[in-house]
Symmetry: C2
């Protein structure tokens, strides 16, 4: 199987590639495991300290460029993880950039799939940002997505394209709506949710972080480990189990900011929590308040998607282990 | 006010232009009536026996060509009725054509709006085809649209773009979901719903028509008169009354095919009804069965959209009068 990952230099792309290498196989259309012979990581820039392996190739270029993406796919790609995207804050700040990468890029990729020898399986990383206020207290798979951001609209249009190209038999697609991923390694980014990792990551590294929202703010989160497991599970699911509805919300956990800080204290001590500066930002508060914090993910559960068990303490523990962090003094 | 109608050679475009000329004014952004100084009718071909008036200009070209549409809008267009579309059957048969006209055409038009002197009002003619089976018995404005056709997906993406461009302040947009329009004048077209006009129009003209569905098939219909009135009402609505949700289903009537035929008998006699040949077509039956036939249009009603009163007999009477038909002998 030849697998392509767009956004392959990003942290989810790199971790997905690493996990695929570890497993060394993915399911084919009939649900039978097949060895992975090549993983192509596509991104606008090579990763810093990227994964290196004989199976892995890098293709550096603009995923929204149809010629580049067609050459990268060749005619023998079997599966695609489409993770490349302009994130929420950036898509809001630069409308045309978001439209080009998030919509034209997705459509160009799907059109390139039509020229492959056989319809590939496509896993599209969507987002709970397809939902916007006003929302019910509990969002279900039947709740109508009404996005209230450019990013959300662009992801929802991506889902509709994935669904339609699947119906036409051009691809075997599926879209999974990711909760906010926390704790993301690396640096703050242009997402309005950037703080949801920053208020943990920076203090764990002995650095100050700003929290722009109130302590009682509730978030719908998934850990990096589970996010990657869900992407791979979503890819491996046979089309027959999905049926006609190709979009679903992934399992997550509802955590308030003060619960996250309490976990930080338990794992890394009160000194870490003191590195958070509380500086409410009205703009970010408004955006974050519009996000749903509670989901009924019955469908994902029944399709066997894994869930974060062990609460937020465990997510911090995993982060510390995965990143090889040495904790700062606790007091 | 300078008004542009895309799909201006089509029967709805021509009738909308005629009605605008009759009224001679539309509401501006503040809800105040302003005189219409120009109506630009844009289409790929000029109409047969088209409307002729000093206020009306024709622009013949491809609405999906950004340069053509930008030149047509100039920088002083105040309002747009975006009716141009590849219809359902044609969009299903030629996927790329549907994508180009129904998605790229809509996006190109909306992007051209960003270069106008001020954000124009845009009325987008969407369709109940955004809904696909399985559906509840009664479709409400809260029902999630899950299209099951290329046309439906393309219309839904158009709605999302209209909503997003409105949120960004590029346009003041609104999307109205039209029921099947019956009785359409002219010739059968590539829409799966073509029969819903054909089984009345052809017999009224003394011609045989094929009915591909069962007599108990229920349809959600709007008359041409009401369709045009609803388009104009939707255009005139102040943005404040619409709020954030820019899409809504128009009022229609639920009529079964045998009720339509009974109306035909009452208005034009049993001889007309005998001109219908019943030849069920499994393909069309499946498509038509997937369409919702009952809607709760509370939102449209409360926004003052007009409704068809007087049942289907009245719709046939209006058609006969509007088209200046001479009825055939009744027996």
């Amino acid at each position: 199987m030849k697998i392509i990952i767009t956004g392959g230099s990003g942290f989810l792309g790199q971790r997905a590639a690493r996990e695929l290498l570890k497993r060394s196989q993915v399911n084919d259309a009939d649900g039978n495991p097949q060895p992975i012979r090549e993983i192509g990581l596509v991104d606008i820039a090579p990763p810093l300290n990227g994964l290196s392996d004989a199976t892995v190739r890098y293709a550096v270029g603009d995923a929204a460029n149809p010629k580049f993406i067609a050459e990268t796919l060749g005619d023998d790609t079997d599966g695609i993880f489409h993770l490349a995207a302009v994130v929420s804050g950036a898509a809001e700040a630069d409308f045309d950039l978001g439209m080009r990468v998030n919509i034209d890029g997705t459509r160009g990729l799907l059109d390139a799939c039509r020229r492959l020898r056989k319809p590939p399986r496509v896993l599209f990383a969507s987002s709970v940002a397809v939902f916007g206020a006003p929302l019910p207290e509990l969002v279900t798979d039947a709740t109508t997505p009404i996005p209230h951001s450019s990013y959300g609209i662009q992801k929802l249009i991506g889902e509709l394209l994935v669904s339609e190209y699947s119906r036409k038999g051009f691809i075997d697609g599926r879209s999974v709506r990711l909760p906010t991923v926390s704790i993301r390694p690396g640096k703050p980014n242009a997402a309005a949710s950037s703080f949801a990792s920053g208020i943990l990551r920076e203090p764990l590294n002995g650095i100050e972080a700003i929290c722009p929202v109130e302590p009682d703010t509730k978030l719908w989160l998934i850990s990096p480990r589970l996010a990657v497991e869900c992407l791979l599970h979503g890819f491996d699911l046979p089309a027959g189990e999905l049926g006609r509805i190709r979009s679903l919300s992934l399992p997550g956990i509802t955590v308030s900011v003060d619960e996250m800080v309490a976990s930080l204290k338990r794992v890394a001590g009160p000194a870490a929590a003191r590195r958070i500066r509380w500086e409410p930002d009205e703009g970010i508060k408004q955006i974050v308040k519009s996000w749903p914090a509670r989901f009924d993910t019955t469908r994902a559960n029944s399709l066997g998607f894994p869930r974060d068990e062990g609460g937020f303490d465990r997510i911090i523990d995993d982060y510390v282990r995965d990143e090889g962090l040495k904790l700062q003094p606790k007091y």
